[in-house]
Symmetry: C2
Subunit: 190 residues, 2 copies
C-alpha cells in the first residue's frame, strides 16, 4: 500500500535492533485517515472469507482492527492483557511474549464474545515473530472458533512470523513488507 510505505519512509524511524518506530502515525499518535485506509484495504483483501469477527490484542492492534471491522461490518474483540472486573471468572487465556516489555504477557478473551461457530480474522499492527498472533489464534481455537485469515499493517519479514504462522493454513496479508532494517535501512520487499 503506497500511502503507508511513503509514510513509513517519511515519519518512521529505524531505532536499530529491528525496532521500527511508528509512534507518529500508528502506535501513540494515530493518523485516522491512514488507518482507515489500511482497514479498507485489509477488509478488501479478506472480503471473501465470510469472517464473523475481527480479533486483535490491546493496545496497538485496536486501531487497525477497528477500521478493518468497520469496513467488513462485523464486530471486533480485543484480547485484554489484564482481566477487568466486568469479565466473568471463566475466561480464555494464553501467554505471549511481549516484544516491548521483554516478558510474557497474558491475552484474555471472555467466552461471551468468542464462540465455536465464529469465523475469526486476526488483525494486528505488526507481524514480526508472529507469537502474539499465534497466541490470538490459540484463543480462537480454545473457543472452538475457526481462524480464517491473518492481517497486519506492517510486516518485518526478517523476523520470520509468516513461516511461523504457516501451519495455521490461512491467508496472511500485510500492507507494508519490510525486508531489511540493517544499518539504518528501511527496505521494502516489493
Amino acid at each position: 500500500m503506497d500511502a503507508l510505505k511513503m509514510r513509513i519512509l517519511t515519519d518512521g524511524r529505524n531505532l536499530g535492533n529491528g525496532i521500527l518506530k511508528v509512534d507518529g502515525f500508528i502506535n501513540h499518535q494515530v493518523d485516522p485517515v491512514l488507518i482507515d485506509a489500511c482497514g479498507r484495504e485489509l477488509a478488501g483483501r479478506f472480503g471473501n472469507l465470510r469472517a464473523t469477527k475481527v480479533l486483535t490484542a490491546e493496545i496497538s492492534g485496536i486501531a487497525p482492527a477497528l477500521t478493518t471491522a468497520l469496513h467488513l461490518g462485523i464486530p471486533i474483540v480485543y484480547a485484554r492483557k489484564t482481566k477487568p472486573i466486568t469479565m466473568p471468572n471463566q475466561v480464555f487465556l494464553t501467554l505471549a511474549p511481549s516484544h516491548t516489555k521483554g516478558r510474557m504477557v497474558e491475552l484474555i478473551v471472555s467466552p461471551e464474545y468468542l464462540s465455536k461457530d465464529e469465523r475469526v480474522l486476526i488483525i494486528d499492527d505488526f507481524l514480526a515473530t508472529g507469537q502474539t498472533i499465534a497466541g490470538l489464534a490459540q484463543l480462537a481455537q480454545a473457543a472452538g472458533a475457526t481462524v480464517v485469515g491473518i492481517g497486519a499493517v506492517i510486516e518485518k519479514i526478517f523476523e520470520g512470523g509468516r513461516e511461523f504462522l504457516r501451519p495455521l493454513g490461512v491467508p496472511i496479508e500485510s500492507l507494508a513488507r519490510i525486508s531489511d532494517m540493517s544499518e539504518g535501512r528501511i527496505l521494502f520487499a516489493d
Copy 2:
C-alpha cells in the same frame, strides 16, 4: 443518542456499585458501526472548536477517540500507561486513579506529539469521576496546549465528573447520560 441508549438498555449490564458493563459493544467487543456513529456525533458537536488533536487514554478510549478524530480529520494521541521503548526519555507524565485497577496509573504522552500550539479535544469512553480526563487535561496543559472540549460516550452523572471538570471552562458533551444505577436500574437523564 438514541441508538447508543437502546444498546445500553439491551446489551449493557448494571453490575452494582455503579459499574456498568458495556463489554459487548464498547470495551472488549466493539461494535464498529455504533462507535463510528458515536464518533460522528461527537465530531459534529465539537465541529466549531477548531481542535487540532484528539487526546485519550489507552485502552478503552481508543475506539471512540479514533472515530471522532476520523470525522474531524485530525490526529489522535492516546496516552500510554507504560512507556514503550520507542518513546524518548523526557515525557509528559501524570498520575490518575484507575477505576478498574483500584490504584493509581501513569498517563504518559511523548512531547513529540503534543505541543504548545495544539488545541486539544479530550475524548473517553466514560465520564464518571472525571479524574482520568482531568489527568489528560493536565498532560495537555503541561505541554502548553489548550484544552478546548471534553467528550464521552457514556456519562455517569451521579459520580460528579462534570462538576469536577467545570473549572476547565470548556464544553463537555456525552452521548448517553445515566442518572441512576441504584437497585439494578439504568435510568437516563433525558
